[in-house]
Symmetry: C2
Subunit: 332 residues, 2 copies
Amino acid sequence: MDLGSEDRLHTWLRKQLSDQGFDRLGDDGAILPPTGPWTVTVDHQIAGVHFPSDLDPARIARRSLAVNLSDLAAMGAKPRFAFLALSCPSTFDSRRFFSALMTACKRYGVELAGGDLARSCHVAAVLTVVGQRAPRGRWVRRSSGRVGDRLWLGGPVGLASLGQQLLERGASIVGRRVSLPPGLALTEASQKLARRTVRIHLLPEPQINLGVWLGRRRRAAAIDISDGLAMDLHRLCRESQVGAEISASQLPVARRFEELCRALELDPLQVLLGGGEDYVLLFALPPRLRPPATYGCSPLGRLVDGRRLSLIRNDGTQPLPVLGWDHFRTRD
Amino acid sequence: MDLGSEDRLHTWLRKQLSDQGFDRLGDDGAILPPTGPWTVTVDHQIAGVHFPSDLDPARIARRSLAVNLSDLAAMGAKPRFAFLALSCPSTFDSRRFFSALMTACKRYGVELAGGDLARSCHVAAVLTVVGQRAPRGRWVRRSSGRVGDRLWLGGPVGLASLGQQLLERGASIVGRRVSLPPGLALTEASQKLARRTVRIHLLPEPQINLGVWLGRRRRAAAIDISDGLAMDLHRLCRESQVGAEISASQLPVARRFEELCRALELDPLQVLLGGGEDYVLLFALPPRLRPPATYGCSPLGRLVDGRRLSLIRNDGTQPLPVLGWDHFRTRD
């Protein structure tokens, strides 16, 4: 099972760290001190890698925070503090960036508590966010899955990655207005979906409340599937030491998603399983539990004995391929 | 009093944050939750900005950690956890970087607890470090200085900035061997000092034990003078709402420092006051307290009433200029 070069480096790192008596790298956030109640997570947002180089500073700020908060959601934590390391050229509108960041922080109850500023030839924002275990809550870990658990998805998948494809092919956004790349053969309804995918890519909505709900269950496992559903399901299963069966027909697909994939010459299933950039939670719950309908979750499959991950299709069952983002392999 | 554009942005940020009921930006680290016992600090190390682009990955790792731990030292905290956001090109030797980082972490009792990896065209390491208030200790704040306190420096100043100058003029390091730029008219003894300054620049020694000692006093104020003695003294005085008098003759100067400055066509006093990159502590203590001799500290002056900062020289007293690094002004 090859989980790509990032996971190989990660496996090597975990080996080195556990040799030193340290090992805290298996989840979306690290729990501090070992018994909590804090969890810390760090994420990059780099111009030209994670977002278009000419993106509005306000959007960069909001996206940076949302992406990080999604990791806290996967831990079942409430966001509390953020630290920003911002490097940017002198032409960058730092005040616009900070104003938007502070507004977004306020919305999520996060205090911007410190940071570091530096000059660089391109914009890179590294946010460190600190979350707190919810009162009467438990940590949600990748390793908490058990054989027989039901798998759920916190929302639709595939759209954000289509948005990213469109941006790479020349889509742009000014204010709320998205311009699509010329030459795409799209019906009016698909154009509307296409514009929505760009907005979803640029501003994911972290599933904080769903995460806190999961943290209040007796047991739940979760991961944020930003690197792609298939790769992140592999990670959850590896940490929980189980296999999984998911059903292609249960993948939550937006209307006109396939039409838009075809126009972009992309395979819909590949996009759903490996597109990445979906900041929704993939989680496992004991079979009798169901998430409240308000969170818009859909069932996806179940955890099974063994280490095999299978995709059930109309025409039979096949091994689930390891598709998804690997920051050290594909984003060169 | 113009503290440069970084401080202006900082002042604007603090105003925005305090309007929202947040204000935690006055120290080298942020204290979490508001009563402790944790403090968090974040720092960039960017190739071509903070260190030469071809620097050995192991040296980048050690320098990144040292620079961050110096901020914890200024808070009187013991280092506990580190989080790394590393972006680098595919040619970068990540394993060499991580091996050195883990060894350095072990040396200082720090656990590398998480991080994020991304591809980028140049190397940038952002470390977030978490420190803990020492048992029976207090936080050391920039704002704890009082009129009448004695000012101290934790070690010699100016050397690291000469090392940086030498690197910018073509000095290089392979293993422990420093090659100096050609064409410098230096005696053998000055060459030895020049080589030492390069090593000091590349690997500062964070004053953790001195910081913990300060944290065990009834009251102490401190700042890490990495942005330059004069600018950081201005910051400490602003937070403590006092003035200061320091004596040029008391500045701790290495033998042959002036000779090396002359060879580099630099004004020794400017280097001492504004060179920056000295990861030593500037601190204020009540007049009866003296740091233990083992820390190698030297007295520098005292905190006075009012807001004026003065430099006492043989030929009279003058206002202390605001000299030093401003990441948003000078490192373009």
